[in-house]
Subunit: 354 residues, 2 copies
């Protein structure tokens, strides 16, 4: 299989973990006789430095012509004081919208070896394996008006969705549930918001088409509680953009393995952008300490979701798990025993095991 | 002191815990020579049954003429299928707006004796003592338009705030911080929302007036993480209505004592509505098992915030803590040892200790 991949290392540890993912992909290509070509572009702070904008036109164009995009991380204190249209995060929001990446997939899976690092009691979180499907290009993030009014005496943001935008994310979530434990939790605030009422109606309509999936509706406040008190009850969670932002970050700390979590942001035709959930970690950038696993697992998601290479994806995932089980870990995981190694060694171990 | 209190028992265990709070208040009045008069009105499901609306006019009028309002809980499966304008929650939203209860105060405090019931590791949550100040009458909950558009092909909700609405809640939060550990965390999504940018500006302006309070800004997604990974870092958290709904429910489960948590919803002149954080618990209603402590602590908040009776409030709070320390508890607390008692016995113990 021939595929063209755009790499956006971004800022901080982004470049280090991107290097790791590329090595793993090269190994996979060799093993399975695929041909992956790469093109590197700027986004975020580094793009501000070199091009005066967090999302240069050539970056968007390159992504548009690629089969998939890998993103490291954006942001850092260096750019924190810039005016908001020049902030690294704008690059992230811009690329999502430009590529129409409407579906953000965030799997959260507990690793038995890392449970001691979880803030939750181990017996509660053990066995958690959930997927948050977040709508990523609508809602409060992009609705208009979003502005000051009455001479700065008031302000408005707009939560807007078309029926079609809700339908496609709900479809995506049902499809994900079908490949997993076949349970879908739709999260909304239907006792207050009109948008949530339509959301709930659409979930009810759609469930006829996926009879093997069981559906539950949960209010967002209740969901925020149950993620903590009973995380194993969830399989797939689907929700709108703002709720998804909050709940997926909440979920990301449950298992104690934030440095391990990948994500995918998908367009309808399968083109996608894949990035770790963690940030650019400026405090440890350039020290060779960063955990490359979230980025490597993000590239496994790319193989599965954009290229349909399920076997290859699974091989990466199983290799990562076996290396953790053998006691190897990076500094962030804060393990009591086993052997602590750096970014390069971890990558080498994974590459060799593959 | 002479005060007139409206009691809105509502549904489910609401009537049982209201009875308990009234007994405690009567004891306090006797001890301290106050005169409290009471008037009972309907809200929620019971109001739908008797008056055909979750918020009858006479209820609003009575509340408007009272010095404070105590609310039990609203809702239950009986009314779940009604059209949305006839749902018990509408009574809650209606009374907040009718009385202009803009400031929702939700203290979350860990009780050492209940930490085994916390989903978090005990060493992490021990010592947590935070207060969420949630804006309660603006934002997405009340902005217009909030409707279907384009023949049902799209839908919109509106997050609207006036500068004055933000100023008064921020002031309230600073004032709360001054009486506590003098640290304020303002939660917003200023990297995306215009309303959050204005919010952040106003917090920055206001902090000049409260020089002894240290201020930190936190994005809502980061706040959802830190509440779990480091709850003891917070003192007062201030945020807008929707974020506050999610974060305060998230925070309510951290300490394992949801059945203990009170809340206050205040108007600028100090009139307030006080209610437990827990719901109407239809599954245990009428069985004498309900934990009355959240309602009793809510009435302590009333004494403090609406009547300025700090000593009386503190007496109730200390009495509750001493009874828990002595090992007495209701069924919800799921204690390993000590003595399990019912609503009436728990109330009796508190009344006698006072
Ligand atoms: C950086 C920010 C705009 C972004 C978001 O809110 O979507 C981030 O929090 C995320 O979840 O990817
Ligand atoms: C019942 C509901 C409308 C309400 C809210 O969202 O405000 C509740 O969740 C609360 O927090 O008091």
């Amino acid at each position: 299989m021939k595929k063209h991949i755009v790499l956006l290392p971004g800022d901080g540890i982004g470049t280090e973990v991107m290097e790791a993912a590329k090595e793993v992909l090269t190994t996979i290509a060799d093993e399975f006789n695929h041909s992956f070509s790469y093109e590197v572009h700027d986004i975020g702070g580094v793009a501000i430095d070199f091009h005066g904008t967090p999302l240069p036109k050539q970056t968007v164009e390159a992504c548009n012509n690629a089969d998939a995009v890998l993103l490291g991380a954006v942001g850092g204190p260096k750019w924190d004081q810039l005016p908001s249209h020049l902030r690294p995060e704008k690059g992230l929001l811009g690329i999502r919208k430009a590529l129409d990446l409407f579906a953000n997939l965030r799997p959260v899976k507990s690793f038995d070896h890392l449970l001691h690092a979880s803030p939750l009691k181990e017996e509660l979180v053990k066995g958690s394996d959930l997927l948050i499907v977040r709508e990523l290009t609508g809602g409060l993030y992009f609705g208009t008006p979003s502005e000051r009014q009455q001479n700065g005496q008031s302000v408005v943001d707009t939560l807007f969705y078309t029926r079609q935008e809700i339908e496609r994310i709900v479809d995506k979530a049902f499809q994900c549930a079908q490949t997993r434990r076949k349970h879908l939790t739709s999260v909304d605030k239907a006792n207050v918001l009109e948008s949530s009422k339509l959301w709930r109606e659409i979930v009810e309509e759609k469930k006829q088409q996926y009879p093997e999936v069981t559906v539950e509706h949960l209010l967002v406040d209740a969901a925020a509680m149950k993620l903590i008190t009973n995380p194993t009850q969830f399989d797939v969670i689907v929700t709108e953009n703002m709720f998804g932002d909050i709940l997926s970050d909440e979920a990301s700390v449950l298992t104690g393995s934030l440095g391990m979590l990948p994500s995918a942001s998908l367009r309808e035709d399968g083109v996608g952008l894949y990035e770790p959930v963690h940030g650019s970690a400026p405090d440890i950038a350039g020290q060779g300490k960063a955990n490359p696993i979230a980025m490597i697992l993000s590239s496994a998601m790319m193989l599965r979701h954009s290229f349909g290479l399920d076997e290859e994806a699974r091989l990466i995932e199983e290799t990562v798990e076996s290396i953790l089980n053998a006691g190897f870990h990076t500094a962030d995981l804060n393990m009591k025993s086993g052997q602590q190694i750096g970014t390069v060694e971890m990558t080498q171990l994974i590459v060799e095991s593959i």
